[in-house]
């Protein structure tokens, strides 16, 4: 027979479990990740990918062995002037809606590269997300490196 005290803590544990369950179930599907190649001496590059979250979350950061600094950036054109900015507070993802990080929009910026990132390499990337309760969770991906020179087909081109 359970004492009142243990019963209460069991109840709390169940309650807590019930509340945290959705958080545990939270996932973000990452598709087609890629990192742009660099040449020796070039200190920064970007990772692009498609993200689909099953709950509203924010992409707030990342980690990678190839760069000490990772930031979430936005590229905007104001008239003909290109501007790149870090996104304060992270990039919001709507539940079930695919957000594409691509040239001309958002990217994960990899900064202070100690050496070149080359075609053929696969870059391990830990993406850090924050849920609506402020709890962080991570998703690991491996992004292949694509050449600096892009295929300038109609598909990949200037759809801004």
């Amino acid at each position: 027979m359970l004492t009142t005290k243990t019963r209460r803590s069991l109840g709390l544990a169940l309650m807590f479990g019930a509340f945290t369950l959705p958080a545990w179930a939270q996932t973000v599907k990452v598709e087609d990740p890629w990192v742009q190649a660099t040449v020796a001496g070039q200190k920064a590059t970007a990772a692009f990918m498609k993200l689909t979250a099953d709950a509203p979350v924010k992409l707030t950061g990342g980690k990678t062995p190839v760069a000490p600094v990772v930031e979430i950036h936005e590229m905007v054109m104001e008239g003909e002037v290109m501007k790149m900015r870090a996104i304060d507070g992270g990039l919001p993802l709507e539940a079930g809606k695919t957000m594409e990080l691509k040239p001309g929009g958002y990217h994960v910026m990899l900064i202070d590269l100690p050496k070149a990132v080359e075609v053929g390499q696969r870059v391990p990337l830990t993406l850090i997300f924050t849920d609506t309760e402020g709890k962080e969770f991570t998703v690991e991906v491996e992004a292949p490196v694509r050449p600096l020179k892009r295929d300038h087909g109609k598909k990949s081109g200037h759809e801004m």
Partner: protein
Amino acid sequence: MTIRPGLRRCFLLALLPLMLLAACEQATTTASFHATEIRDASFGRELQLPDTEGRLRTLADFRGEVVAVYFGFLQCPDVCPTALSRAVAVKQLLGEDGKRFRVVFITVDPERDTPEVVRAYLDAFDPSFVGLVGSPEEVARTAKEFRVYYRKVPTGSSYTMDHTATTFVYNADGKLRLAVPHALSAEDFAADVRRLLAE
């Protein structure tokens, strides 16, 4: 009040540098080039900067070639590779005429972009692309001549460069003829270059 599309376009362009605004009025009448024609002879008159091998280059070096000038920087992960990839595509689309199409890249971040790194970077696109690396003063003077805007902006850990992403195109006689917007397709750009080569 109704606004004619042409006027509305001019109105939007008012947000852009003055040179584009001036060109806008004329663009509605000619509509022959996809890019914006430059009728103002007072800019882009000269170009004089050291290349990645340290040789001083001027427009006279490129007579007989259509020259596309782009200002950018190497830590630009997005717009600059897009513009240079488009330039590669334009050259390919031109086929045999591509030999008379010269791409010149001018860094607006000479503090970080050393000649060696700029050379390696351009080689990743096309070894025939010319890279110009001036002193900060030389770059400032050149940008002013093209009315190109650039500015250093701090980011979390370092800095980035805001910059005009327009490509400027000279005809084979060394006359500045076109301002090619960043969003123009490689196909339209190539068609314009073909017209310039026939001038």
